[in-house]
Every structure is written in C-alpha cells, then in structure tokens.
Symmetry: C2
C-alpha cells in the first residue's frame, strides 16, 4: 500500500494524481475560475486528512451522529467547506442497502390526469425523505418492464406503477427481494399486489344512468384501448347501465381505440350521424377519459347541444365550455396520495395481505349531460 497512513496532509489533487495513473483519461477539463480539476470529488478521506481526524469522525459529523466534540466538529466542517465535499450517496446506498428513493412509472407525464397524481406521490415521498425517480411507459408493455427493472436495478425501495402491461409476473422476484410495489389507477395483471383504483365501473354506470334519466335511449361509448383496465371497466359500467334500463346496445355505438384526436373525432361523428345503424344515430355520448372528452367537445353536434355528453374524468375549464361539460370526476391526487401512503406503510414493515383500495367517483352535472335527446 502506498497510501499515507493518517493525519497526513494529502489533499484531493494528490490523492487523485495517484488514481489518474490508472483512470481512463476522461476528457480532463479545468475550471476557468479556480483552476481546480473538473470531475474530481473530494472524499471523506480527503476531508479527514485535511481536518487531521479519522475517517469515521468525518462520517459522524456528516451524518449528525453524536459523540464528536464541538471543536473537532468545527474542524471537520471547515474542511468540508474548503474542499466542497458532498457525500457520495452511491457508496452510502451500497453499504446501507436502502436508497431512500421510490420509482414512479406512469403512462405519460404530460397527461393532465396523471400530473396531480405524480405530484401527490412526490409530496408523500418528500415527507418520508425519499426522492422520486420516474419515467413514462407510453402505454407500451415492454417499455414498462424495461423501466421497472431499471428502477429495481437501482434498488429503489419501492415502486408506484400505473401499469401498461398485461402480465406483471416479471415483478415476482423483485417483490420477493423486498421491493414494495403499489399499483395505481389500474391493477396488476397475473400478480397479487396492492392496488389503489377508482370505481370505474360504478362511475360509468352512473354516467349512463344519468343520460338515461334525461331521456336518452341511444347512447354511444367512446373509450380507450380495450386492453387497458380502466377502459374495460368503464365499458362494463356502460353496458350494465344500458342493460338495467332494458336498452339494447348496437355494436356501432361502442368504439374503443387509441385516444388520438382523429380516431376519436371520426368515431364521434359517425355515431352522431349514422344513418346505417338500424336504430338511427346516438343522441348522447359517454367518453372514456379526459383525452377523449377534450376531442369530443369540439364536435359541432355537442357544441350546438344537439347531442348530450358525459365525460369520464374532470378537467380544467370544463365548466367554462359551451355547453359546460358534465363529468364523472375522479380524484387523481387522492389516488396518488393513497398509493404512496400505502407504499410507505409497506416500507415501514406492514406485511399484511395485498390490499385493493377503491375510491368513489362523483358525477358533476354541468349542462352537457342534461341536454335532452334530439328527435
């Protein structure tokens, strides 16, 4: 060993010069202002050397552990400030095993429905001193799995997942290895795991019942891809309400698919004008989520109150549109908060059976859902 023993005055540069002999020459840049080398970080050892104390003493000061005299502490703090030391959490994590971070996997960071959800998760994580690492699956199963496993390799303590995939058995070894996992908005597939969901079935059923109560008999449903749990549940709610009212559902009244505006608009216009349908065009629509709704509100028949509309999910400014949009409101922030709280309860050791939490939805009548059927 060439390393000096203790209480030496070896500094960062000296220490690193040693290392440089073996290190890859990683574009060595130099600070224009201080002349200090870029990319070189002082370590606790450097701080210890500079302060003339042992390594462990520095560790104690950095972590606020007791048992350090004020004078020693001051010397250490001075050295830390002089060197610009910042603890390397990678090493800490490696040693401690816990990362104090949780992963969040959702479909699209920019979807206004998920924004409050992720903010809520972040708030809870922050309250527990954890960082949030997140990524979007873009509704792609492979990308979801890739992301989740990357987060597991980072050894996040826990995961909050809005699943895109339809088989989550790949998570079994991770969960067994101790990664707490909570699914939100949609349940896990082929895996027993905690889930926090909205009452999608009941919400959709209530929305359709509302339209029926306002005289509609021919009601269309435009929803998301059928493999998405929420889309399937809402369709089920739609069918249940129709059946309960003794109404048949014409196959042309149901359109599921991607939520891109062209597809949605085409389906809405077809349903509202369909002369080929045996029973004529629909007089009302239930839209399956906020992306679908904000497209359908642009359809002339809806704007001109020739067709009724109830949208799943509330959205900003819904009450200022013409007509104001009646919605089935979820509470995305609450979904996120409950999921994150459940996650941290698991991390604190709660080991009871996987739980399924279902949050109620709320019908908010604003006008578009109370438009009477046009003959």
């Amino acid at each position: 060993m060439l390393l000096p023993r203790r209480r030496t005055t070896e500094n960062v540069s000296q220490a690193r010069r040693r290392q440089d002999r073996t290190a890859v020459a990683d574009t060595p840049r130099t600070s224009r202002t201080t002349g200090r080398r870029y990319g070189l970080r002082p370590t606790m050892k450097d701080v210890a050397a500079r302060a003339g104390v042992g390594l462990k003493t520095v560790s104690r000061v950095v972590n606020g552990e007791p048992g350090v005299t004020p004078d020693t502490e001051r010397r250490v703090r001075d050295a830390i400030a002089a060197l610009g030391f910042r603890r390397n959490d990678s090493a800490r994590i490696l040693r401690k095993g816990r990362t104090a971070s949780v992963g969040l996997v959702l479909e699209d960071l920019a979807d206004p429905f998920y924004a409050p959800l992720s903010r809520a998760v972040e708030e809870v994580a922050r309250a527990h001193g954890a960082l949030l690492i997140n990524g979007s699956s873009a509704e792609d199963r492979e990308r979801e799995q890739e992301l989740v496993l990357a987060l597991c390799a980072r050894r996040v303590d826990g995961l909050v997942i809005i699943p895109a995939g339809d088989d989550h058995r790949y998570l079994e070894p991770e969960i067994e290895a101790g990664v707490a996992t909570v699914f939100v908005d949609r349940p896990a597939a082929r895996l027993e795991a905690d889930a926090v969901l909205s009452d999608n079935f009941g919400g959709a059923r209530a929305g359709v019942a509302h339209l029926i109560a306002h005289g509609h008999r021919r009601i269309g449903f435009i929803g998301d891809l059928p493999r998405i749990h929420t889309a399937a549940e809402r369709l089920r709610g739609y069918r249940a309400a129709m059946a309960e009212a003794g109404l048949e559902v014409d196959a042309s009244w149901v359109a599921l698919g991607p939520t891109d505006p062209e597809r949605v608009r085409a389906d809405a216009e077809r349903m509202l004008a369909d002369r080929n349908s045996p029973s004529g065009p629909v007089t009302a629509l239930l839209t399956g989520n906020n992306r679908v709704t904000v497209t359908v509100v642009r359809v002339p028949a809806v704007r001109e109150r020739r067709a009724a509309l109830v949208g799943f999910d509330d959205f900003e400014l819904a009450d200022l549109l013409t007509p104001p949009v009646t919605v089935i409101a979820q509470e995305p922030a609450l979904l996120g908060r409950r999921a994150a709280e459940l996650l941290f309860r698991r991390l604190e050791g709660a080991g009871d059976a996987p739980r399924r939490v279902e949050l109620p939805t709320r019908l908010v009548p604003r006008g578009s859902g109370e438009v009477p059927p046009s003959s």
Copy 2:
C-alpha cells in the same frame, strides 16, 4: 477469510446466513409463496458460484461483453434466472463514477406548462439511456437548493433546473466537480451557466402592442411574483410596449403576486372597475402566465367581452372558451428538449462557454385580444 474460494456450491441463503450474523435484524419477512427470504438479493458472486464460473465471467455476461463461450454464457444465464439475479446498479455506479441519470428540478409537476417540458426532458434522457430523477421546488429557494444538492449527492450526471432561487452560487463546487447543469425557462442567478429561455420580454411587448393596435390605451398587467425572472421580463415587455406607444402606466394597472385565484381575481376585478384610478378602469388585460389566465377568463367583464384579454402561455381548450383566448404561445416541449439536448452535449464533452438560447414566442389571435375598448 471464511469465504469458500471458487467453484463452490454456496448459494444465496448460505452466503446470507453468514451476513446475518452481523446484519441488523431488518424485520425478516418470509415470502408466502416460495419461502425465500425477503430483502435478500443474490449477487454476482452467488451467480458465479451456482454457475461454477468466476465472478468476472458473470459480469461479462451481464454486461454483454465479448469473450465468453456460448456454453459458459448459457450456464451463467441459467443461474441468473434460477436465482432471480438483478445487477445492483449502486455498486456499478460507485465503481464507474457515472450514474446514467439526470435530475430535473421544476416548480410544480402538475402545472400544465411544465408537464410537456418535463416529458420532453424525459424523452431525451431516455434516448441517451439515462433515467430521470425529479422533484418540485414549489417555488421555494431552500427547497430548490435542498433538492439540487440531494441530486448531486446521488451523483446525477447532469441537472436541468427551473430555478426558484435567486442565488445559485451554491452550485459552483458541483459544476466544477463535473455536474453538467442547464437552466431552463429562467436563467441562473449569480452564476454563469447554460440557459434555455423563451423571449419573455418580446412576447409580452408584442401582446401589449396587439392590444394597443386594437385601440386600447388603458391596459393592466397581472403577473407572478416579481422575483421570478419570467414575471419581471414580461412586466418589462409590458412597460416597453406602453412607452413605445407614448402611454403612461398608472401604478394601479400593475399587479404582481402569487398566482392563487383569489388574489388574481381580486386584482382583475379591481382594475376593471376602478373608479378611483385617475384615468378610469382598464379596458384590457395582459395576464402573466397560464395560471393567471385561467383565473381571469372567469371574470364576467372578460366573458362578456367588455374587456380584452391577452394571456401569456397557450393552454388546452383556450380556443373553445367564450371568447376564445388570444395568447402569446411558448413552446414548453421545445424548451425542455433544447435544454436536455444541450445537457447531453455537455455530458459528451462540449466544453465551450455557457450558452444562452432564446426561443421565440408567437402571438395567437383568437378573439379575446381583439375585443375593442368599451367606452
């Protein structure tokens, strides 16, 4: 050393039993399905032992390095699958020095302006194989610093920051240590650093000039907190346009403050009805960001076209309101993309002087900004 030397058949449980003698009893739970212990992860050493190969061979297989016979590789892969091994990236990061992750600090994950921005950053990060760690500052300087330093302790390779603070010198040691940093939406304060901004001054000036061109002389400005760079720049643009038209600005026409709806509504209504102002109430408003705008569109005078409105920032459904809202549009996704691209260019070694990129804004006339002044 008690450790068996090589090609032993020691397995995870045996290895961990050793460890257990010293480990903190960390709520040892047991899987209900497999009986395997929770929280214990096989390591490369375990895999090597099981496959009957050396540690480095496992490393080669896991990292796709060449120089492993297909047969050996298969044995290693079998062992990996049997053990449910997943590489521990903490250790990898510690050794390699690079984390393949970037940090994003913004004001509020749920603000619709920042959502596309963060999505864009994520897309670019993903394209470069990096994970995104993010957090919100909630417009609080201390929380920003806390977050940024936590990310630095994690040794993120780079940072994209929407700053809330007014002094970023605390970042100097980090930047010198090699953390690439790009500010977006707002520049760094007291620090030379890359920044990607919108033309806030020019945008606001164009918006006010637009109102003046439509006959308005008494124009109010409702903006965000004056310490926020964008708010200050937009106010400056407002004043410039007024001055260029030879119009005096009454002190009561400018209101800066937090964007909570109560404050904003009160200011708007005061300005639009102010009989105390020497020159009478304003006939038009420039709102300083999307949060302010969505509150002001609810004010009766605006809805009834008794006052004109131009809003800074475009927002979803702006064109469907009554009247449709004229806006000065930024491109939040482009801001994010350019910032992230600049960041990765820095990470790839671009060492030229800090750059300041300014993106143009675009006036989108839709109706509310073309309302003539009411006498």
